[in-house]
């Protein structure tokens, strides 16, 4: 285990903004891509029926 406390984990040795900024944007992109694709598919299914 690397971290003594939650705040130490979030701080990432002073690099928190850089580390979490990378992961947050990656997760955001992935969530957005899935949401857009499922919405596009749902719309298509509805328009074909």
């Amino acid at each position: 285990m690397n971290w003594g406390s939650v705040s130490a984990f979030l701080a990432m040795g002073g690099y928190g903004g850089f580390v979490w900024g990378s992961y947050a944007v990656a997760v955001l992109c992935i969530v957005l891509e899935i949401a857009l694709l499922t919405a596009r598919h749902r719309r298509l299914r509805r328009s074909i029926n």
């Binding site: 690397n2 971290w3 984990f9 040795g13 990378s22 694709l37 499922t38 598919h41």
Partner: protein, 248 residues
Amino acid sequence: MTTHINWFKYASPATFYPLAGRLVPWFFIAAVLFAVPGIYVGFFVAPTDFQQGEAYRIIFIHVGSAWMSMFLYVVMAFWAGIGLAFNTRLSSMMASAVAPTGALMTFIALWSGALWGKPMWGAWWVWDARLTSELILLFLYLGFMSLQAAIDDPRRADKAGAVIALVGVVNVPIIYFSVQWWNTLHQGASVSLTRSPSMAATMLVGMLLMALAVWMYSIAATLLRVRCIILERERHSEWIGQLKELKK
């Protein structure tokens, strides 16, 4: 006993559409099953780097997305080339389905690279060989997508896109070998096939798990998108009207 496998069965959109639908959830599940231990190993098992401190933990998203950005380009060019050579419509649809996810992976690699470069090099961006060739990769994906979007006839769009995709493939080895061919700020490959990895074993395990997660995710997203493209392009064909999933 010989069993005959019909390899072309799934080359038709009508048979591939339901198959892709069945596969999508499994690839999403596989992505989560690799990502959870990957994040765990990356943040809780892998030690602090003696030079970079905790900032190096960006590696677990950076390397996987960067590998996938190059790999997906080759996959896109492969399907586009098959579509161009044999006029198989599903191949071209696959190429179009790969492109946005490839562009997304390229963006994530560039973004996480910028956030890693700032604390380590003191700059968000430098015009060196690795970074510039990866940026060109993003422009190739975007060029492929906008060219296809600009042409109304899908068959002509496929052909025009395939030319960009195939020409642009030369950029992939340039990205990969850029750190050897030019002096660059970017570090060399930490993992190669010919020598043992230059990093702690737990770091490597975390990185490989995350790379597999990104890989599985990319397959799921591509299959999800190809299903949309199939419906868009084949909506007036007879088999779509007979699809069970649309009758519910």
